[in-house]
Amino acid sequence: MRSRFVAGACLLGLVLAAAPANVAAQDVAIRNATILTITNGTIENGTIVVREGKIAAVGADVDVPAGARVIDGTGMYVMPGIIDAHSHMAIEGGINEGSESITPEVVIPVRADDPTIYRALAGGVTSALLLHGSANTVGGQAAVIKMRWGKDSDGLMFEGAPRFVKFALGENVTRASSNASDDERRYPKSRMGVEQLLRDWFTRGKEYEAEWQAYEAGGNNGVPPRTNLRLQALVDIMNGDIKVQAHSYRGDEILMLMRVAEDFGFRIFTFQHVLEGYKVADELAEHGAMASTFADFWGYKVEAFDAIPFNMAIMADRGVVVSVNSDSGERVRRLYQEAAMGMKYGGMSENQALEMITLNPAKQIGMESRIGSIEVGKDADFAIFNGHPFAPASRVEKTLVDGEIYFDRDEATTLEKLLQSRTRTTTEDRQ
């Protein structure tokens, strides 16, 4: 008796939350909201029209097509769906192939039924970069996904995303906190060793490339060289076919990695964490690397002890494209709170702060042509808040991906609804 209502409520949630959604066949219109476009300012009382999953129109005086599903945006703020450029959600079978230190041949397998995806949607996140862990100097290749909760792993993949690989520097890679003897440890044990390991392996990569070039030029007696997936991946990295996301903390190691990359003819695409990026901000900008960091998380390791919340503002001021990321299933739910810290620490403007969770991470996952701002032609990925995302009382009401509502607080099972159902059944029992 008691839980029948709860079961009913759950079924309701089940029907609506689990309906595997396709790209909207129906047009969608969000009306009368404050639209934070990121690239074209803020539109008061604005309307967005979505057709086939793309933004068809946005403005203050836009007509809503007949038959469109209308979302009333009165009092609401609409921003581009938040992009998390560093996540380990939805990964199957281990995030660290830590048995060896150079493993770019492995590729992150996605596990679509991780509830972290749903909770991320409830925090306004619509895309994420799923990265290999930080146990290896050169780890594995990433997966870029959209939060299409309910679809299988193929359905989550963000079609057209570039290939990325994870590098890591510092304490995690060198297993700094290990007390094991040298016999039981894996090279490298120091930051010095990290540099030499990189140089050695990229040199081997060059040799491998030369071997194949010689074979293709007719050499090697017609016997192709052994296909070595690991070395091939290193070649792809040097040729820019796989872009580098590098976990890093200390200024010295950030600089080291940029110089190694330059020596081998490629660039670091984005530094991750990069908590001392502010110390080498000019060098980062010159090299062309972007930065994805934490807002004010610090002090949990020695290499994080010089981290300062002004990191974002200093780097941005010096020309680096900066984002804030979650690197956790918890922080992903409130990235909007993290981005606001750019305004508090170092005086970023509101739009600069918003860029850190929209356009900038879109660039860092190579998809700025599709997402990261509210412009005609881009994907209809939105986070709809009941107030300005940076205001303390604000929360996400709805999240859309490809024009389809994947999170709706009205339909979700909330704590309030759960408690109400209990109260109601208790009353029934008494009657």
Binding site: S3, T103, G150, Q196, D200
Partner: protein, 576 residues
């Protein structure tokens, strides 16, 4: 010599019209005529009343009008049905465990820079990576294991390792003891590939294994190229590699040796298909496929055969359950959760039926179960869930025979094939059906009556009886206090009482499978009444669980049943 004399004596005994007692060990091969039997020659091909003649380990005659030869031991099987001996194409019986093996040598030698450089070379031969190991070479079964297989009607086993990545190559054997060489029917049967992990070395993750498997096939392909070049012109070609791994994979690369790829969950099935396509392997079989029902389209697209395991995953862990966003109620029973679990469990049990219904070639196997004891229970559950007896029979005879490359030898009751048949009183796929005799390569085994239901279910790990008087003691207020728990069950509902020196408390509750939940109000003399709850799990005559008195931490206890279950035995209705 003594042995053959013994055999002769046993043979002499056998010709007397007395039933031969089931004995472990090798039964003599005799000539038998199974008469007046209903004969299922092959799925869909039934002789209502006929005779099968077995001689020298082969079937020599089968038909409605076959006469029993004079020298045959004639068995009147009126009322019984004779089936082809069943085949489990992927059993781990008698093979060393890969998952429980002691850790192999550490991968990637530590220390110097030069050694780090070499860390990417294939590490020395851990149990997870030994593609050249033949299951037939390491098959060492226990007699009682084989006896239990026969008791389920299985007469041919496909041998497969229980884990690893490239644990070895599978084989097919008959279910009779003896030197493995004599009863091996085929080796190798296939190259086994699992998306497993290597402990203590590369690859230690799923993504690592996928890359490793791809690289392994590339290496094998390369080895073939080099050997061909070497054969053309040894002087200019690079030196071939004779590494066992490359030799083992070469026939798989060529397609001569089938590749069996293990994949249970939907996403693993997708990965297996992608992997095979990537490395250019076309001759493959997917083993496991417990979530195959979710991948029917993809499987039909590649149209490869499946060895479908009856080892179903937990219903709350199947792919897609998370999408239901199930929220537990604050208090009271989680009925919605239990309903969803039941629905998922039913869907899982119906997996094989869904796949055969989609037109896929399916063999059934107990791979992953705890040996033969659970095999029949799960098979019957699959039939009850919707697998037709004819499809079930095909999946246990004709199809696995083909997948093992043994269709000329086993799988149907036809002349020339091995004398592998099962005699059933009743229907093989009915839970009341009793397997009475099994012939393996012409040797006759009588199957004893089942042990008491409670023990058998305990071995099956399935539902158990609650009825009876259970005694145990719990620690209360610093001392051990004995108690007696008396329970009776009707239609899943339990009633009874718990009594101790502190008094007696009436209890009510229910049983689900082997789990019980009971509640009552405990009112010790001179104290306020307190809510009391008991949860526990039954295994045979042991009950283990916890007692929780209102406001206190749960106290663990164990109890033994004092008397055997009451005459009113429970039906096996408690399957999850």
């Amino acid at each position: 010599m003594i042995r053959s004399a013994l055999c002769a004596m046993l043979a002499a005994v056998a010709t007397l019209a007395q039933p031969v007692q089931a004995q472990p060990g090798i039964e003599p091969i005799q000539t038998y005529a199974l008469t007046n039997a209903r004969i299922v020659v092959a799925p869909g091909n039934v002789i209502e009343s006929g005779t099968v003649v077995l001689r020298d380990g082969r079937i020599v005659a089968v038909g409605a009008n076959v006469d029993a030869p004079a020298d045959a031991v004639t068995l009147d099987l009126a009322g019984s049905t004779v089936y082809p001996g069943l085949i489990d194409a992927a059993a781990t019986t008698g093979l060393p465990s890969v998952t429980r093996a002691t850790r192999g040598p550490q991968g990637g030698p530590p220390g110097s820079f030069q050694q780090a450089r070499q860390a990417s070379e294939p590490p020395p031969r851990p149990p997870e990576i030994r593609p050249d190991l033949l299951a037939a070479d390491v098959f060492e079964p226990q007699d009682d294991e084989l006896e239990r297989w026969r008791a389920t009607g299985v007469t041919t086993l496909g041998l497969a390792f229980d884990g690893g990545i490239f644990p070895g190559q599978t084989a097919a054997v008959s279910v009779v003891p003896g030197e493995h060489g004599t009863y091996a029917l085929r080796t190798p049967v296939s190259l086994q590939v699992l998306l497993g992990r290597r402990r203590g070395g590369y690859p230690g993750t799923l993504m690592g294994s996928l890359a490793f498997i791809r690289q392994a096939f590339h290496d094998a392909q390369h080895a073939i190229h080099v050997e061909e070049a070497f054969a053309r012109d040894a002087a200019s070609a690079p030196r071939p590699s004779y590494a066992p791994e490359h030799r083992a994979l070469a026939p798989a690369v060529g397609g001569a040796l089938p590749v069996w790829i293990h994949a249970s969950a939907e996403r693993d099935i997708g990965r297996a298909i992608e992997l095979a396509t990537d490395v250019g392997v076309e001759n493959y079989v997917i083993v496991g496929a417990q979530e195959g029902y979710r991948s029917v389209d993809a499987l039909r697209g590649v149209n490869r055969p499946l060895i479908v395991s009856l080892d179903w995953p937990r219903p709350d862990a199947v792919t897609g359950r998370a999408y239901e966003m199930h929220i537990a109620p604050i208090d009271g029973e989680d009925e919605a959760g239990a309903e969803a679990d039941s629905a998922a469990a039913l869907t899982l049990r119906n997996n094989a039926a869904a796949l055969t219904g989609a037109g896929l070639r399916v063999a059934l196997s107990g791979y992953g179960l705890d040996g033969p004891s659970q095999f029949r229970t799960h098979l019957l559950a699959a039939v009850e869930a919707g697998l037709s007896p004819e499809d079930a029979l095909r999946a246990l005879t004709v199809t696995p025979a083909e997948l093992l490359g043994l269709d000329a030898l086993v799988g149907t009751i036809e002349n020339g094939k091995l004398a592998n048949v099962v005699v059933v009183e009743g229907d093989l796929f009915d839970e009341d059906g009793k397997i009475r005799q099994v012939f393996v390569e012409g040797r006759r085994y009588e199957i004893p009556d089942e042990p008491p239901r409670a023990q058998r279910r305990a071995a099956a790990g399935d539902a158990a009886t609650v009825d009876g008087e259970w005694t145990g003691s719990i620690e209360m207020a610093g001392t051990m206090m004995p108690f007696t728990l008396t329970l009776a069950e009707q239609d899943g509902q339990l009633s009874g009482e718990i009594s101790s020196e502190m008094g007696a408390t009436a209890l009510a509750g229910e049983r689900t499978g082997d789990q019980i939940v009971l509640e009552g109000t405990f009112a010790p003399p001179g104290m306020n009444a307190m809510a009391l709850s008991i949860t526990g799990q039954i295994r045979a005559d042991e009950l283990e669980g916890t007692i929780t008195v209102q406001g206190q931490a749960p106290i663990a206890f164990s109890a033994r049943r004092r008397t055997p279950g009451s005459a009113r035995m429970m039906r096996e209705g408690g399957r999850p």
